[in-house]
C-alpha cells in the first residue's frame, strides 16, 4: 500500500511563505493532479514529496512512513521533469538502466527491466541513441521509461508535457493515462493546464497562493466550484460571472431592469441586499432551437451577438448581459453574423451564486 499523506506541510523561503499548511491524503493507485496558476506552490509541494526541497513544517509520509528527512533516493519514488533531465552523456538504454545500476542490481535483471520499459513505451529502436539525437516526444518517453524501470511506489510528474507542441501533448496525455492503467501506481502530477488536469486526474487538487482551494474529482470541480477562482480556472471557456444583488428573497437583479429568479440550489443561503456574483457556463446559455432539450427552470433572455467562434459541432457566441461580456454556446450551429439577435434560454438550475465579497459559493 503506497498512499501518500501530507499533513500541515509548510514551506518557507526566508520570510516568504510558499506553501501554507497543506493537508492531503492520496490513496494507493490514485492519479492526483496538482493544478493552479504559476507560483501557487504546486511544484514546491511536489518537490517536497520528492525530497528535493526541505520541508519547513508538517509531515510527509509515503506508504505510512514519515519521509521528512529522508533523501530522495530512500523514498522509492521516481520523477519526470519538465525538461526531462535525461543524462546527456548516456545512451537511452543507459539512461533507462541508471537507477538499477546504482542499486547494483544484476546485469541480467537490468537488461530485462530496461527491455520491458522500452517495449511499453516503444523505445526499442532508440536504445543506442544519445538524448541529443531524440525528438521532444521521444525524450519525453525516455524520461517516462526511466521512471517506470525503477518500479517506484509513487510516480511524480512535474509539468511533463509543457515543453511539447499541442498535438504531441494530446498524444502523450493519452499515453500517460494508459501507462497509469497498465502499471496502476500512485501518480502525483503537477500542471498549470486545467485541460490536462481534467482529462488525467482521478482527483484534482486546485491550489492558489500556497493554499489548497478545492479537492475533488474533475466533475466535482466543474459542477460544484467552491468559489469564483475555481469557477473561472476550471472549464473552457471560463464560467461567465455577472455582478448582481439580491433584490427579493427569490430574485437577483443583474442590472437595469434585468432580474432572474434565484436558482433552487442557492435559495435559503441568501439575504436581501447581498451583493453576489452570478455564474453560469456557456453550455447553459443557448439560443432557443439550438439548445439541449432539458427539463428544468429556465430564464428567457433576448441578446445580440457581437462575435462568433465557430468550432464545428458548436459555435461560441459572444454577447453582453448588463454591460458584461458573456459567452454562450450554439449547438447544431448555423452561420451567424455579428449583430444578430436571438432568444436565449439560461438553465437556472445549473447556475452558481457566489458571495461578491468573499467569492465563495453560496449553497443551501
Amino acid at each position: 500500500m503506497t498512499e501518500v499523506t501530507l499533513s500541515n506541510v509548510v514551506k518557507k523561503y526566508g520570510r516568504h511563505q510558499a506553501v501554507h499548511g497543506i493537508d492531503l491524503a492520496i490513496a494507493d493507485g490514485e492519479f492526483v493532479v496538482l493544478v493552479g496558476p504559476s507560483g501557487c506552490g504546486k511544484s514546491t509541494t511536489l518537490r517536497m514529496i520528492a525530497g528535493l526541497e526541505a520541508i519547513t513544517g508538517g509531515e510527509v509520509s509515503i506508504g505510512g512512513r514519515v519521509v521528512n528527512d529522508l533523501p530522495p533516493r530512500e523514498r522509492n519514488i521516481s520523477m519526470v521533469f519538465q525538461n526531462y533531465a535525461l543524462y546527456p552523456h548516456m545512451t537511452v538504454a543507459e539512461n533507462l538502466g541508471f537507477s538499477l545500476k546504482i542499486a547494483k542490481r544484476p546485469e541480467a535483471e537490468i537488461e530485462r527491466s530496461v527491455a520491458e520499459a522500452a517495449a511499453i513505451l516503444g523505445l526499442d529502436e532508440l536504445m543506442e541513441r544519445k538524448p541529443a539525437e531524440l525528438s521532444g516526444g521521444q525524450r519525453q518517453r525516455v524520461a517516462m521509461g526511466r521512471a517506470i524501470v525503477r518500479q517506484p511506489d509513487v510516480f511524480l510528474f512535474d509539468e511533463p508535457l509543457s515543453n511539447l507542441d499541442a498535438k504531441l501533448r494530446t498524444q502523450m496525455r493519452v499515453e500517460i493515462k494508459k501507462l497509469h492503467q497498465k502499471v496502476g501506481n500512485t501518480i502525483i502530477y503537477v500542471t498549470h493546464d486545467q485541460v490536462e488536469a481534467m482529462t488525467l486526474a482521478d482527483r484534482i487538487v486546485l491550489m492558489r497562493d500556497g493554499y489548497i482551494v478545492q479537492v475533488g474529482t474533475p466533475l466535482d470541480l466543474f459542477n460544484q466550484p467552491v468559489d469564483t477562482f475555481v469557477a473561472t480556472f476550471i472549464g473552457s471557456p471560463p464560467m461567465n460571472l455577472l455582478a448582481g444583488e439580491v433584490s427579493a428573497p427569490d430574485r437577483i437583479t443583474l442590472g437595469e431592469g434585468l432580474a432572474v429568479p434565484v436558482p433552487a440550489s442557492a435559495r435559503g443561503g441568501l439575504r436581501v441586499g447581498q451583493k453576489v456574483q452570478f455564474g453560469f457556463r456557456a453550455d447553459n446559455l443557448m439560443p432557443v432551437g439550438h439548445a439541449v432539450e432539458e427539463a428544468g427552470q429556465k430564464a428567457q433572455l433576448r441578446l445580440t451577438v457581437t462575435l462568433t467562434e465557430p468550432l464545428g459541432t458548436e459555435t461560441l457566441l459572444f454577447t453582453e448581459i448588463a454591460g458584461t461580456e458573456v459567452q454562450a454556446k450554439m449547438l447544431n450551429p448555423r452561420p451567424v453574423t455579428p449583430g444578430e439577435t436571438f432568444d436565449f434560454e439560461l438553465m437556472l438550475d445549473k447556475c452558481h451564486i457566489f458571495d461578491a465579497a468573499s467569492g465563495n459559493a453560496i449553497r443551501s
Binding site: 533516493r73 519538465q82 533531465a85 535525461l86 525503477r150
Partner: protein, 287 residues
C-alpha cells in the same frame, strides 16, 4: 539598374578590402612565431650574418645541442623540461580539484555574499606575480621550500585556483540542476550524483579548464624566476634566460628551446579552444 550596379561594385571592393586586411592581420599574428621556428633550424652563422641571408639553409645543430645534454654552453634542457612538466601537471591536478569544488559551490548553492566571495577570490588572482614573489621568496626561504618542486607547485595551485573556479562555475551552471535531482531520485547520493552525472557531463569543460591552468603554470615566469635557483627545479621559461650571457645571446639555441615550449602549448590550445571560450563567456555573461 545603375544603383544596383553601384552597390554590386561597392560590395566587391569591400570584399577585397576585407580579405586584404584579414591577410595582413593574420600575417602579423603568425610571422613572429614562424620566424622563431624557422630560425631554430638555421645555423648560427646565418642568423648572425650581416647583410642578412634570405635563403635559409637547414640544420638541426641547435636541437642536437639541446638534446645532447650539456651542449650549447651547458643548458640542461632536459631537466628544465622535466621540471616544467612535473610542476605544471601536479599543480594543475590539485588546482582543478580545488577549483572544481569551489566552482561547484558557486554554481549550485545560494548563499549570502556570493558575488562578494567571487570577486574576492578573483582579486587574489590579480595580485601581480612580481609583487607576490617578494614575500613568497622570504617565506619560502624560511620554510626551506625555496628551489623545490613543492614550493613552486604550491604557488601555482594558489595562482590557478581562482581562474579554475571561474571556469568550472561556468561549466557547471550550464548543466541544468534537474540532472542532479534526477540522479538523486534514481538512487544516487549527492556524491554519486556529482561523479556519475555532473562530472561526466562537464568533463570536456573541466578538461579545458585544466589545460588552461596547465598552460598558465607552463608559461609562468615572474614567480618561477625567484622561487627556483638550480637545475633541479628551474622551469623552461626561467631556463630560457640561460642562453643570455652578459653581452651575447645564443639566438639559435633560444629559438630551439622556444619551439620546445610552444609546441605542447599549441597542441593543447588546439584541443581546448571551443570549450574554453564557452566557459569564459558563460560564467561571465550569465552572472
Amino acid at each position: 539598374m545603375d544603383r544596383n550596379l553601384a552597390h554590386r561594385n561597392r560590395r566587391r571592393a569591400l570584399k577585397v578590402a576585407h580579405f586584404l586586411t584579414l591577410f595582413v592581420v593574420m600575417s602579423i599574428i603568425c610571422i613572429p612565431g614562424l620566424w622563431i621556428v624557422l630560425n631554430s633550424f638555421r645555423p648560427t652563422v646565418e642568423i648572425m650574418a650581416k647583410p642578412p641571408v634570405w635563403t635559409p639553409s637547414f640544420t638541426l645543430e641547435h636541437y642536437r645541442a639541446m638534446f645532447g645534454g650539456a651542449g650549447e654552453g651547458g643548458v640542461p634542457v632536459f631537466s628544465y623540461f622535466r621540471n616544467s612538466l612535473i610542476v605544471s601537471v601536479v599543480s594543475t591536478a590539485i588546482a582543478i580539484l580545488i577549483g572544481m569544488s569551489g566552482g561547484y559551490a558557486f554554481a549550485r548553492y545560494r548563499f549570502r555574499g556570493k558575488a562578494g566571495w567571487f570577486v574576492g577570490l578573483m582579486l587574489f588572482r590579480a595580485v601581480p606575480g612580481v609583487a607576490l614573489s617578494l614575500p613568497l621568496f622570504i617565506v619560502f626561504a624560511r620554510l626551506g621550500i625555496i628551489d623545490t618542486h613543492f614550493g613552486l607547485i604550491l604557488a601555482y595551485v594558489a595562482m590557478n585556483v581562482p581562474f579554475t573556479i571561474w571556469l568550472t562555475d561556468g561549466f557547471f551552471r550550464q548543466i541544468p540542476k534537474e540532472l542532479h535531482e534526477a540522479a538523486e531520485i534514481d538512487g544516487c547520493t549527492r556524491w554519486q550524483a556529482f561523479w556519475k552525472v555532473e562530472f561526466p557531463v562537464a568533463r570536456s569543460g573541466i578538461a579545458s579548464a585544466a589545460i588552461f591552468a596547465f598552460l598558465t603554470s607552463w608559461n609562468e615566469f615572474a614567480l618561477a624566476s625567484q622561487l627556483t635557483r638550480s637545475v633541479g627545479s628551474k622551469t623552461m621559461p626561467v631556463g630560457l634566460l640561460d642562453f643570455t650571457a652578459e653581452f651575447t645571446i645564443n639566438w639559435g639555441g633560444m629559438c630551439a628551446l622556444a619551439v620546445l615550449m610552444i609546441v605542447p602549448a599549441l597542441i593543447l590550445t588546439f584541443i581546448v579552444q571551443k570549450h574554453l571560450i564557452a566557459g569564459l563567456t558563460f560564467g561571465g555573461v550569465k552572472g
